[in-house]
């Protein structure tokens, strides 16, 4: 592999030549990606399965389909997204052209993650391509099969002078971060997020940091517990809990906790059978290091286990496990679990749950289950989180029209769909005037020195923003509607007369 600085420099040369900017080029690259996703679907799924032992269907639904969807969305909308966005003008600029134009930043660095190694590397790449950037992708070395596959295969479908895959571990990432990028997109934990941002500060490089944390889930006393248990079980044990937006822990109203845990057990048996280790639908922990980490947490809180608790280090298997009687001092509450352990904390009700949530870092996602919509309103106005999902979990990630990102320790910035394009493009203000000599008398009268009190007051009047008037707005709408109705009616009348005369 060439030296990392050379790779970055050559990518910058490609960008400076303007290769990645034309709309047609961007579409071609996205079409190349679509072909890649279709032709190499099996190879991609196989690579993910080798890394995460995920069922093939889960690879399809949570990774490949999502990337396909994002790519198709960008292709469908790129013409609209890249158009200039005209803005409202004031009196002083009435005759001018004022708009926001989108521009690529330049050379973008995408640092992928291992838990969804394909989607978390390719989704940001789609946004970077759509916005006209060149990009260097650094997949996580922990998901080594996907990393290798991307390095071998992507160059066959994307322009290799503009888009490069760089593989490696901490030394290579450190070396990359010492280079100048025009945007850095990072997915991973908060600690490394800090390192990335510190490195970015040296060049004043803007960043998006998709970090994680502990996503709380509240279960209310007025709740369909079977529904809640099913959805929480699905979201928690997808990818064996190795999801940044997995329900990390449950705050359950003490009055229904017993029944809720019973329902959880029931759902787990329905999903994975009596022996989850034999189920094709249940994955494995990514590697021995994480297996040891999660096992240590499990052992420390062993006496709280009520469901599961089995491990098999030769298979990197940890069963779906539920713990009760957990409190903030328990081992399961000290860090993001990122594994199949679900601690359940008893609370007296919604208020105590919210107090608990607010005493901790702002999470990437917040979930609540209740029949009462008032619970969602209370949660929304009394907490903060990247996203909030009521009566479900994890699925908000699949909605491309919602921005996906954290707040506080769970990250900054967002992406998905148009938000990816927005993230990777610079919003340039463009004000275009003509050289009309006739306007110079106005400039002399209002703007140029020597200043007089009259000039000042006239210009102030011209530039002032008036208070909104409901009457004026309503009159405007009524007039507009009346005009439309009048025009359409006249048209219909004339047409009717014409048709009648013909007949």
């Amino acid at each position: 592999m060439a030296a990392i600085s050379d790779i970055v420099n050559s990518t910058r040369t490609a960008f400076n030549k303007g290769l990645s900017k034309p709309l047609n080029f961007r579409k071609q690259q996205l079409q190349g990606l679509m072909r890649y996703l279709t032709e190499k679907e099996d190879a991609i799924a196989a690579a993910i399965q080798r890394d995460l032992k995920k069922p093939r269907d889960e690879c399809m639904v949570t990774e490949i389909s999502i990337v396909k969807g994002e790519c198709q969305l960008a292709l469908n909308n790129l013409d609209d997204w890249t158009k200039p966005e005209p803005v409202k003008k004031d009196l002083a600029n009435l005759l001018e052209s004022a708009a926001v134009y989108r521009q690529p930043y330049g050379v973008v660095l995408v640092l992928g993650a291992w838990n969804y190694p394909f989607v978390l590397t390719l989704n940001p790449l789609i946004g970077a391509i759509a916005a006209g950037n060149c990009a260097i992708i650094k997949p996580s070395e922990i998901s080594a099969n996907v990393a290798r596959h991307l390095a071998e295969t992507l160059p066959m479908y994307l322009d290799p002078s503009c888009f490069k895959v760089v593989n490696g571990g901490i030394p290579e990432t450190t070396e990359l971060l010492a280079c100048q990028f025009d945007y850095i997109f990072y997915t991973g934990n908060t600690a490394v997020g800090r390192i990335v941002m510190r490195a970015a500060a040296e060049f004043l490089t803007p960043v998006t940091l998709e970090c994680g944390g502990k996503s709380p889930t509240y279960v209310d006393e007025d709740c369909d517990l079977s529904l809640a248990a099913a959805r929480i079980a699905w979201g928690k044990w997808l990818n064996v809990g190795q999801t940044c937006i997995a329900p990390d822990y449950v705050l359950c109203d003490a009055k229904v906790r017993g029944e809720f845990v019973v329902e959880l057990g029931r759902k787990l048996r329905e999903f994975y059978g009596d022996k989850p280790q034999r189920s094709c639908d249940y994955g494995r922990i990514i590697n021995p290091r994480h297996f040891d980490r999660v096992s240590r947490i499990l052992e420390a809180d062993r006496e709280l286990v009520v469901v599961g608790g089995d491990t098999d280090s030769s298979d990197l298997f940890i069963s779906p496990t539920v713990l009760v009687g957990v409190d903030k001092t328990s081992a399961t509450m000290q860090e993001e679990i990122f594994g199949p352990l679900l601690p359940v904390i008893d609370v007296s009700g919604l208020e105590e749950a919210v107090e608990f949530i607010n005493s901790r870092d702002k999470p990437l996602a917040l979930y609540a289950f209740s029949r009462k919509q008032s619970v969602s309103r209370y949660m929304l106005s009394n907490t903060s989180s990247g996203a909030f999902c009521f009566n479900d979990c994890v699925v908000q990630n699949g909605m491309v029209t919602l921005p996906f990102g954290g707040v506080g320790a769970s990250g900054m910035g967002s992406y998905h769909g148009w938000y990816s394009y927005d993230t990777f493009s610079h919003r340039r203000a463009v004000l275009a005037k003509k050289q009309l000599g006739t306007t110079e008398w106005l400039m002399k009268a209002l703007r140029y020195p020597p200043y007089t009190a009259k000039k000042t007051s006239w210009f102030l009047w011209m530039l002032a923003v008036s208070p909104k008037s409901r009457t004026k707005t309503a009159l405007g709408y009524i007039l507009g509607m009346g005009l439309c109705f009048g025009v359409l009616s006249s048209f219909c009348y004339v047409l009717g007369r014409f048709c009648f005369s013909l007949w």
């Binding site: 510190r198 004043l204 999902c389 506080g408 919003r427 000599g437 400039m443 020195p449 219909c492």
Partner: protein, 501 residues
Amino acid sequence: MSKLNEAVNSLRATFNSGVTKSITFRKSQIKALMRFIIEKEDVILDAIYKDLHKPRWECQMTELQMIRNDCQIVLNELDNWMKPQYVDKDLANIFEKCYIKYQSYGVVLILGAWNYPINLTLLPLIGAIAAGNCIILKPSEISHHTAVLLEESLPLYLDKSCYKVINGGIPETTELLKYRFDYIFYTGGTAVGKVVMRAAAEFITPLTLECGGKCPVYIDSQCNLTLAASRLVWGKFVNAGQTCLAPDYILINEKIQSAFINELEIIIREFYGENPQQSADFSRIINSRHFDRLSKLLNYDNSSVIIGGQTDVNDLYISPTVLRVNLADHHPIMDEEIFGPILPIISVSDVDEAVEVINTREKPLAIYAFSSDTSVLNYIEKYTTSGAILLNDVMVHAGLSSLPFGGVGSSGMGSYKGKFSFESFSHRRACLIKNQWSITERLMKAMRYPPVSDSKLYWFTKLIEVRPKSVVLSAAPYLLLAGLTLGVCSAVVYLFTSYCS
């Protein structure tokens, strides 16, 4: 615990109490800020004059009016901005509520600047208040009179428990940057911008950095020189060139350089008279440190001065000055943002050379270009990048709040003004609200939950699939609506004519 630490903690406690959430509270604070600007207008103008010797017109247009306008925009629009922003839904979520809700970040730090001490401190404050945050406002100590005024007067208008003005220099700013904020807004030089971002990285605090750099101007051979000279002189010498957006240097087609310099001379005399030091409309340099810095640049090569060049250290006065410079001479005036009333002119052969010069340097906060040839203007717009670009004028885009104001690359990150301020200081929270309808569980069992099967996968993929755009399908709703409207209108006309006959 230090005073600053206590201030941050008390603001956090206030924020957690939820007092800044309500729209009524936020509007009341914005109205109070407007009252401050109106009632204390004379005191404010006086303070700015003492700091920068700014003429009244400039104080009104470039400082107070911007505050009044942004306050009014917030009062007009905050109800709309705070409403849930509903988004398009896919088939899988067709019955659910999906929207974005803008939320306050929490405790915000605003670091003001000295060159527009009211504008650059209070404009971000408006956005932060509108977004429901609690705020520490740190005006620049260099514009000392305005800083003192803000510290003394703002607490008389704004809620003291939510908004604190803290004055001080480097030690106080360094200490503040050690504490956790939920958002930081900084206006100033790039070097300090990096220090701020490094500090923000410790808590992964999001931020907006409004930095500067050298804003280039290109003057084309096809150009109304009087128009270009007038707008350029106005923009360059407002606030004695101490504006982040000021045209920093000119790249001019060599064919028209002499004619243009003549125009500059005429316009400068028209604006500021024979002796600009006596003009009431020309400002002074902020302090002796900056005066010395600029004098050094001026004295580097006296032969390069073609207009002006006079200085008076007792008055911190530097006259409107134009230098003729060649890039090959490596004049130090091209090494850093000038931030003073000195305008280097560099001749280029054509627009290609100008674009090449611009692109070898850091991305500027703004690029300006003057030409009557639209193709030249389009060329510059297409082949350069900057925070903003103005064609046939300078700086005035800062007055249009519907345009985002911010830099790119070393000129900064993020943007603000008007709605962009509200968005900068808010977290965009995604919300997906479902019901607990048991009928949907049947669907979940059929498509989503394990054990998974090929048919489950097939149907679930179909549900969430994004299909290629179809012109027919996209047009169908519009055609339907048009048909319906036509039908309704025809029916009304028919009934009306029948009734009349």
